[in-house]
Symmetry: C2
Subunit: 323 residues, 2 copies
């Protein structure tokens, strides 16, 4: 009987979450050690760097940080898929025609205005509920043209583990993305365990309408807020109302968010995902049109930010299985 | 020994929160019974109306709903107090001069533009941190001209109890106010137990600046969003991303928020605080410039909303003690 009890105690100990590796898809490199040391420090109630749970706020960019952003932002690929099914008579501009033909470089050639035409044509004129239901339905069957994988399989397993680890340690985890808030919310709870109210993103204007189906929020073809670059700390202040203690990103669009986060008092962590892995994923940084990372690479190390080397630091890339 | 144990068990039972009246400052009227019946229904896991905690979202207007709004919005009284201390050479408009002289009707006579001049002069040109520290410092000593009470003593005790009761029952409680988000955040945690990230309000524009004191968010003299009327459901969708199941307000500025909330599927509650108590507080509704309540009184009862009669339903008004 005594041996059974002792065995039970051992099994119970082994089952304790704290005993398991919280980041199994991270190699045992400096990046992983620094992340764990930071979390240990802010959660140790006897230490000088202890942070109460109310202040354990972590913010993460989405495209290129939590999931991939190649060959182009997934939200744009959604729009292209939807325009491919559109009535041809509605394709009134070169950007819309290029999108409907699946010609991404043709869309990009029309510049920011062309991208906005594509977004407005596919992201407005419906209720928020209808839009989000459509995005969720699209994600169930759509596949990424570069990998053939489902989009929600192209989340980064190491980052999903990091989000879960932080929440297990009393953090609240937010997405702060240049992508559209409604698009991300349609997928973020399943993909990352992040509920709608912890998703911050760019906004189209919207309005309240009392329709035949009752009162609804309807999306309009007009940009209300771009949640990128200096807009990220502005949006965090507007919505969260506090300076996070941890910020993660992958491009210079995240620089201001990391700069503001890590300039606060007490322990802080900035983290940049550096796309170094052309074999298992995609390799790009200073010269990329998407997710360009230059200032972060130049200044991040001296600012004490963790530069995650995907090829070296991650033993596994995707949550799903590549073809 | 057995009697001691039995006594201990009784004491323990009496100490259980569930045994205590969750709303001691509410009289035993229909309003209180309906609130408790609603909360019981949505929290009973065996009932048809059960709502999981993730969806137990409650939103409340602030001015006139959670604290008073007489003789005028407290935020405007803050601005008037601050202009009273301002350099006279900066008082370049009739509205600013009236405000500095404490002449509220003079400010109101200048219309919305005059009020905006007063808000911009006192709410911009500083960092968010500095502004919120100043509001908190003001609230420590300032008194309301109508009652002589401290402003934070003029929160409604029955509503503070309702907020706490809802949180104890697994709700998340939000403020959704026409007032400025930074002003409310400076006080809401102490006054209501509501943290900054659960405060939604009107917004001045703001920008990210790297100052001598490091990166900061600086408030600008420009309105970015008015969180009133149809703006309230729009802001809830933008920030919370879900339709609440309970909404409380006191004026027609809250009508759209209650309409949208109570039109959702499943159990819903709309609640309007009707200012019927001219003896202990202030009595006003249809003809008031502040907190006008007309459509809500006309349509609320048939929509099934709880119309709280302050004189009848509340045994106590203020959290503080009137002079």
């Amino acid at each position: 009987m005594r041996r059974v009890l002792a065995l039970s105690a051992c099994v119970a100990l082994l089952a304790l979450p704290a005993m398991a590796d919280p980041l199994p898809s991270w190699n045992d490199t400096d990046s992983k050690a620094r992340i764990i040391a930071f979390v240990d420090a802010v959660t140790d109630p006897t230490g000088d760097d202890f942070v109460p749970t109310a202040d354990r706020i972590a913010v993460f960019d989405n495209d290129g940080t939590l999931w991939a952003e190649q060959p182009v932002y997934f939200q744009l690929l959604y729009a292209i898929d939807r325009l491919g099914d559109a009535d041809p008579s509605t394709l009134t501009t070169p950007a819309l025609q290029a999108a409907a033909a699946g010609d991404m470089s043709g869309v990009m050639a029309e510049g920011e205005e062309g991208i906005l035409e594509v977004i407005h044509a596919t992201h407005s004129g419906m209720t928020v509920d209808a839009f989000q239901a459509d995005v969720a339905a699209w994600a169930e069957t759509a596949t990424n043209p570069a990998t053939g994988m489902a989009y929600t399989d192209m989340t980064y397993q190491p980052m999903v583990e990091l989000l879960r680890y932080l929440r297990d340690e009393g953090f609240v985890t937010y997405i702060v993305s240049g992508g559209g808030v409604h698009f991300i919310r349609a997928l973020a709870e399943d993909a990352y365990g992040i509920p709608p109210r912890q998703v911050i993103g760019s906004l189209l204007a919207s309005e309240y309408q009392v329709t035949e189906d009752g009162p609804q929020i309807v999306k309009l073809p007009e940009v209300a807020f771009i949640d990128d670059k200096e807009g990220k700390p502005v949006a965090i202040d507007r919505i969260i109302g506090a300076r996070p203690i941890l910020a993660g990103g992958n491009s210079d669009g995240d620089f201001a968010m990391l700069e503001w986060t890590t300039a606060g008092d007490g322990p802080r962590m900035g983290l940049l995902v550096h796309h170094t892995d052309g074999d298992r994923a995609f390799a790009y940084d200073r010269d990329s049109h998407i997710g360009r990372l230059e200032r972060g690479l130049d200044e991040g190390p001296e600012r004490g930010w963790v530069i995650v080397d995907m090829a070296q630091d991650w033993s596994r890339i995707w949550t799903g299985t590549p073809e």
